[in-house]
């Protein structure tokens, strides 16, 4: 039997059901958003016992907090490809304790206990001028504690003077003008602490995502010129085991149109999907594995039926139908904001148009006998 072709009786049923049944009322409920009054922040002492209540207590930034000007012990870092988070811009820093080094073994970048990763999420008021006025929404810390990694979300206040630990997460309405000059409104969701692990999850332990060898093994601009990030860390005495760029895996920037389409698509899927969709991630249940090096067509979703996708499947049969992006579940779920359909499950409330365009082109050009 063929599971996909609609037959005559199905059409008949459609007609009849449309005409006779279904008086479905769509109950839309307007949520009124209570604005949280600005808290007066009690002073806090840097005791060395984490997490602090206030972000400022860590002393990461010099001068005015909102400038996010790092103190000299922080190293700026940037993954080759970036995870889409509702178009938020990010500035990222790593702090490695004095006298401690990260160790690079094969692909594994092992960060010493006491390491803190600092990731700030912000929106310029006008994306045509990204260095201009901006609003910082949240700062996420990942701290390598004695018992392993811990994630702590800090929510910035209205006046942008400090951020406060908010383990239960939050919602923030953000307005900005996009790069086309269009006004945008986003209901930005700050994840609750345990949601962090929805992505930062390797075999059910919390793990950094961006700070991995393959994501850092490329050049970025530092104050004193451009350098490979891992080479830079080595020069700072913060890394051991780096054998040169060619000796370690690296990912490309999916935005770089000079790269091959296939590589760009795989880089996009890797940074946006593979934290869950890999053998060690929570979406291993699906059998859909979207890591950069994945070559097995079935694991990549080619002619693969879904397992627990529910309404996420839409009208479609397979995750990827080569040559037919719009009949592919993968694209359908990227191209939706509906809860239960949209992928990734957390981290976005809007559609990443550029990402959808890239994956659409990739599937449409895919050849598979």
């Amino acid at each position: 039997m063929d599971g996909s072709s609609p037959n005559f009786s199905t059409w008949v049923f459609t007609l009849i059901f449309l005409s006779l049944m279904w008086s479905c009322q769509s109950a839309t409920k307007e949520e009124s958003k209570a604005s949280i009054p600005e808290e007066i922040l009690a002073p806090e002492e840097a005791t060395g016992k984490f997490p602090y209540r206030r972000l400022s207590t860590y002393g990461f930034f010099e001068g005015e907090m909102a400038q996010l000007a790092p103190n000299p012990s922080l190293i700026r870092y940037q993954p080759a490809s970036s995870l889409f988070t509702d178009y938020a811009l990010k500035s990222r820093f790593a702090y490695l304790p004095d006298g401690q080094k990260a160790i690079l073994e094969g692909e594994e970048l092992n960060l010493p206990q006491g390491t803190i990763l600092v990731k700030n999420f912000y929106y310029p008021s006008d994306f045509r001028n990204p260095e201009g006025e901006r609003r910082i929404i949240e700062t996420r810390l990942m701290i390598h504690e004695e018992t392993g990694w811990q994630a702590y979300p800090y929510l910035w206040n209205e006046s942008q003077t400090d951020a406060v630990l908010k383990v239960v997460g939050s919602e923030v309405v953000v307005k900005y003008v996009d790069s086309q000059g269009e006004e945008q409104l986003i209901n930005y969701l700050v994840p609750n602490k345990n949601q962090c692990k929805s992505c930062h999850n390797k075999n059910e332990t919390l793990a950094p995502l961006g700070v991995q060898t393959k994501h850092l093994n490329h050049e970025i601009a530092f104050k004193d010129g451009s350098d490979n990030q891992l080479a830079h860390w080595t020069k700072l005495g913060k890394l051991e085991g780096f054998l040169g760029e060619a000796a370690h895996p690296s990912l490309i920037n999916y935005e770089d149109k000079n790269q091959a389409l296939e590589d760009r698509a795989m880089a996009y899927l890797d940074i946006n999907c593979s934290h869950c969709h890999q053998a060690e991630g929570p979406a291993s249940t699906s059998g859909l594995f979207l890591t950069y090096g994945q070559k097995d067509p079935l694991k990549l979703g080619v002619f693969k039926t879904p397992v627990a996708a529910g309404k996420g499947s839409g009208k479609h049969t397979y995750d990827i139908v080569p040559g037919q992006a719009d009949a592919s579940i993968l694209l359908h779920r990227m191209n939706s904001t509906e809860m239960g359909v949209a992928m990734p499950e957390i981290g976005r409330t809007s559609i990443h148009a550029e990402g959808v365009a890239l994956i659409r082109e990739w599937i449409n050009q895919m050849n598979y006998k």
Binding site: M1, G3, F17, V168, N192, A309, S313
Partner: protein, 434 residues
């Protein structure tokens, strides 16, 4: 063309028989609404929970905007004040694949209700020792197309106990156990779902004392290809009431027909469905008034999907069906015509058009084992005392749609030694869990 006209007129006739349920076990609208502070305190309690602690959730209606996640904890008990007293509503959830998510060891959740999660109601993953007791998971939407996927959803777990739970109105399976080992599902109720209870790619599952009613399909045992856990084995289904599973299949919108989710192909009126299942024993059940068939024994090939994958076989084998009670219901409850499997039964069964069947077998066998099905190469054992009064059909589908045949003869499947579904290991499991 004649067949199409026939289906058309039947479609009209059957419309009046199509059933849909929005029945609710409890009414949560009268409950006191928990304050914003109480809701935040609950979210925080999950986040800050320590090993060997109890999270008590007092009565009230909790309007949650974020997920409740218990992460990597050991020996935690989550306790509500009763299924009718403590209601966790995820109607306003803004992100996340499920309402409640649990990862850890020796976790119990009991005495509460979960409503209206956009994805799955409650999911437990990578948990050794997970007990769901007296939890009610449901959707309250009048329009069921908005409902979530699974109500109670343990996956990649070990030592799973689901007891005295209620799962209703899910768009896929109410109680769904996937890629897990050592499972007991007992004394629970599943109704108004597409599938009532589903055991998928699992080893050693005991399903007993449950009621699966008013679903499109009552109890399903599947093995799907391409998953980290390949074929599952050894499921026993006994002492269950599998009745009136004639609900519409609303896994896709009416008129859309099936998509790639296997459950979308289940015809309304399915009692028990085995698909690529291995070592399943089904006995002492009451399989009543399921309008298409009581029990379907099918291989994965009937889906039409690619049927090759590592550590997995598309064939259903080593099945023992015995001592069940059957009732085909009234003459007016005709088999389904909305799904291909329903059409197969309606038009090609061995007893005449539109006759409800008690037991159907798709008759697909592994030709590398035998040249004919007469030797019963897949070891399908049917020993029903009432077999003479039952409608049994074995199909022949291996030459495609144009050459479908069907047979009443059950003899080849009667005289065989069932390989019981690992009774010894299940006894060990019982003493471990209970």
């Amino acid at each position: 063309m004649i067949r199409s006209l026939f289906l058309f007129s039947l479609g009209l006739l059957l419309l009046s028989c199509g059933s849909e349920s929005t029945e609710q076990t409890y009414d949560s609208s009268t409950l006191r609404r928990a304050t914003l502070q109480e809701v935040e305190a609950l979210v925080e309690a999950f986040i800050l929970a320590e090993d060997s602690s109890t999270i008590s959730i007092p009565s009230g209606f909790y309007d949650l905007h974020t997920q409740l996640i218990l992460d990597n904890k050991t020996s935690v008990q989550i306790k509500g004040a009763g299924m009718d007293q403590t209601v966790l509503s995820f109607r306003n959830l803004k992100s996340g694949g499920e309402g409640v998510k649990i990862v850890g060891k020796e976790i119990t959740i009991e005495n509460l209700s979960i409503e209206d999660a956009p994805g799955d109601g409650i999911k437990a993953q990578h948990t050794d020792g997970i007990t769901f007791r007296k939890i009610n998971v449901t959707w309250t939407n009048g329009d069921k197309s908005k409902n979530g996927t699974y109500a109670i959803y343990p996956v990649q777990c070990k030592n799973v106990l689901i007891e005295e739970c209620i799962a209703s109105h899910s768009k896929d399976a109410g109680i769904y156990v996937g890629q897990s080992e050592d499972i007991v599902v007992k004394n629970s109720l599943a109704f108004g779902n597409v599938a009532g209870i589903e055991i998928e790619n699992c080893d050693r599952a005991e399903v007993y004392g449950n009621t699966a009613r008013d679903n499109a399909g009552g109890i399903l045992v599947f093995n799907l290809p391409g998953l980290p856990k390949g074929d599952g084995r050894k499921t026993r289904i006994y002492d269950n009431d599998i009745i009136d599973n004639n609900h519409e299949n609303f896994a896709t919108s009416i008129g859309d027909g099936p998509n790639g989710n296997t459950v979308t192909m289940i015809p309304p009126g399915s009692g028990i469905v085995l698909l690529a299942a291995k070592e399943v024993e089904i006995f002492n059940n009451r399989i009543l008034r399921n309008k298409t068939y009581g029990v379907a024994i099918a291989s994965y090939q009937v889906t039409g999907f690619p049927a090759k994958a590592p550590n997995w076989s598309p064939y259903t084998s080593d099945i023992s069906l015995h001592d069940n009670e059957y009732d085909r219901g009234s003459w007016s409850s005709l088999p389904d015509l909305t799904r291909e499997l329903g059409q197969l039964v309606s038009l090609y069964n061995a007893h005449g058009w539109l006759k409800t069947q008690d037991i159907i077998y798709d008759g697909i066998w592994d030709e590398s084992l035998a040249s004919s099905i007469d030797s019963n190469p897949m070891r399908i054992c049917i020993q029903e005392p009432s077999i003479k009064d039952l409608r049994f059909t074995r199909f022949y589908l291996m030459e495609g749609e144009d050459n479908i045949e069907s047979f009443k003869d059950y003899a080849p499947f009667e005289d065989c030694k069932p390989s019981p579904a690992g009774l010894d290991s299940l006894r060990i499991l019982h003493s471990k869990i209970l």
